[in-house]
Amino acid sequence: MVTPYDRRTAEIVEEVRHLGRTYMRPMGLESDATGLPPPADHPLYLICARQGGLVGREVGEDEGDEGLDWRPFRSLLINEESAYWDRGVALSLPGPGLGGAALRTTATAEQRARFLSVFTDHDRAHWGAMAMTEPGAGSDVARIQTRARHDGGEWVLNGSKMFCSNGARADWVVVWATLDPALGRDGHRAFLVERDTPGFELLRIEHKMGSRGYETASFALDEVRVPEENLLGGEAFYRSREGFRGAMATFNLTRPIHAAQGVGMGRAAHDFALEFVHTDYPSEGRRRTRALEQLATIRRQLQTARLMCLHAVWLASRGLPNTLEASYAKLYAPPAVLRSVSVALDILGEAGVRNDKMVEKLFRDVKILDIGEGTQQVQRVVVARQLFGFPRDP
């Protein structure tokens, strides 16, 4: 059996389970009803930020020489477990978020230490974020239009960004921009923009079908001036044509973790449906057997997805290429989870319509997983390019 738990990770996952049961699920239900994410000063966030709390642990603060190194398995398992309780609230937890992944793949060691150190403040919660998507550039991130120009020892950013998770409450946002759209991927640069930088303006918090427990922000960037030293990786990094690859490497790390959130949500749907079978189905007979067979199918799909996520992260943790495997996980897991949640609804029957049964909420919550960080269609393109030279410009 593949057992991804070391002792410390098992402790942390257990802590997440406790926080999930006590805080995250009730918070998620409230956000689902009100349409508003929990406030930034919610007690859960302070618990996560305190000394020895989840934030410090996720960035490895308490583990001596290894300092702020990322632990991909731990991150994956925390994400799976927290999404089990509420994926929206899980995404709202303090920490570097997607911006942290960008720092890991793109920034210099000095920049990583500088920007991640904010999470060693235990008196209040801190967030990081990443802004890649634009109104006109979603899956095709190569088409981003936000411009960066060099001016007097600073960088100046202009454009707009959307689907920036936790962006409105973040201490900093990693913003991807281009020197010139005509340069294509060679023109891409990543900048760390700190909160309250003049010209960095929150436009709105989006209203969504599900996953309402975290804020999804849209921004305008109007002559936003960024210090030279906030260009992640430094200019030499991009001259070596690593800029776009840096962005893509970020996704190779985060796609399996994103997919693993789906596994957590699917597990939740499975457990609700199994409980319903125990309490509401006849103790024997064809209906019960049929429902148990359906639950076994859910379990199979979720386990397959889980192994794919773990395998992709295992490759990354060994410094091995994982583009293909990360896309496999992201391609397979979200639709499999959606099917699983849908089957769980079938098991509940008409009771599934009621959102107090949770599965209806999960059905709405889970759909975004097949869109964020590259739709399944994008993943198929990635796989096709890798395996049999599917052309970039048909």
Binding site: M1, P4, Y5, R299, L310, H311, Y328, Y332, F388
Partner: protein, 358 residues
């Protein structure tokens, strides 16, 4: 302990050697073996040298003890080249789990000599506990070596019929032609032993057999995928390779992901059996449950992949000039083995609430 998806060095080396053997010696003769109804003696001798049959058997039975994970990798590797003769050539093969499950003294007495000397084939029949007891019938089995032993798994009861007094030649079957065809009504076979296994033991026996089928199916599906990609990147239609039409590319990409997932599930189930055999886990249901899940996932995925393997070849796929049609029917037939998918689903429904936590 952290997640580890690596294969032991000895398994990697064995796979490498078998890949060459399968490519050079097995694949070129696949059609010929099918027509002959058997694999050539030279191939069987070579497989003996690789110790195919004893890879996953305990040392007490002359096994190499490389484990279940090593065995599924080997089966997959051989099946990529030609799965047709595997049900016959790999003895006791799918029934290794049954052999290991029956009590030490009994199994040594009744089975080891004939089964392990490969003088007689064995197979596993799965009967359902919610159906009336009836004499087990072997609908299909390999005909070489002669079918001599039949295990029957019903719940946690394990029964062994044999040695067989003779079998009937079955109706000619196209799938697995290289293994021949035998059928048998067991009502006049002696019962060599009946055992009640510990709770979950029956599922483990069936799961081990299903994992055998899953590993072979995986190899067939991988071969189908590889051949499809090779053809579809060369054959040009409407001005570009078949594979570079987005509709086809997307199907191929989904197939690749499905195969990857099925392989991870098969290997994971094999690791669970190895952990169980090693005594590092004591959960009686776990390995059998996940092996059964792997069987369902793999046969389902292989159905899609081998179907696509014909579809993207167009009319060529329907002709015996290509191996696509052979893989298509073999993959489907494997889903019928050891009680088929329906009995597998029954087992999972019964075991679901007992299986370990997420």
């Amino acid at each position: 302990m952290t997640a580890d998806f690596s294969l032991p060095d000895e398994v990697v080396e064995l796979r490498s050697a078998l890949e060459r053997f399968a490519r050079d010696r097995l694949a070129p003769r696949a059609r010929e073996a099918e027509a002959d109804g058997s694999w050539p003696e030279a191939v069987l001798l070579a497989l003996d040298r690789f110790e195919l049959s004893s890879l996953d058997l305990p040392g007490a039975f002359g096994g190499v003890g490389i484990g279940c994970l090593g065995k599924v990798v080997v089966l997959e590797t051989l099946a990529v080249a030609d799965a047709g003769g595997l049900p016959a050539a790999d003895q006791p093969g799918p029934t290794a789990g049954a052999l290991s499950a029956c009590p030490e003294g009994d199994r040594a007495a009744v089975v080891a000599e004939a089964a392990l000397a490969r003088r007689a084939a064995s197979t596993l029949v799965v009967t359902a506990t919610d159906e009336p007891e009836a004499p087990a019938v072997v609908e299909w089995a390999p005909s070489w070596p002669p079918l001599g032993w039949v295990w029957e798994s019903r719940g946690d009861r394990l029964r062994l019929f044999g040695p067989g007094p003779g079998v009937d030649p079955g109706s000619p079957a196209l799938a697995f032609g290289a293994s021949g065809t035998a059928t048998a009504a067991l009502s006049h076979w002696p019962v060599a032993g009946t055992w009640t296994l510990p709770a979950g033991g029956g599922l483990a026996v069936r799961g081990r057999a299903r994992l055998w089928a899953a590993a072979v199916t995986l190899g067939i599906a991988q071969a189908a995928f590889d051949a499809t990609v090779a053809y579809a990147t060369e054959r040009v239609v409407f001005g570009r390779p078949v594979a570079h039409h987005q509709g086809n590319a997307f199907e191929l990409a989904a197939s690749a992901a499905g195969l990857h997932g099925a392989r991870l599930l098969v290997y994971d189930a094999a690791r669970r059996f190895d952990a169980w055999d090693a005594g590092t886990t004591e959960h009686p249901v776990d390995a059998g449950f996940w092996a059964t899940e792997a069987f369902l996932e793999t046969t389902e995925t292989a159905g899609r992949v081998t179907d696509l393997g014909i579809q993207l070849l167009g009319g060529h796929g329907f002709l015996v000039d290509h191996l696509a049609e052979k893989r298509f029917r073999e993959a489907r037939m494997l889903g019928l083995f050891f009680g088929g998918r329906a009995r597998a689903e029954d087992d999972l429904a019964c075991a679901l609430v007992e299986v370990g936590a997420w």
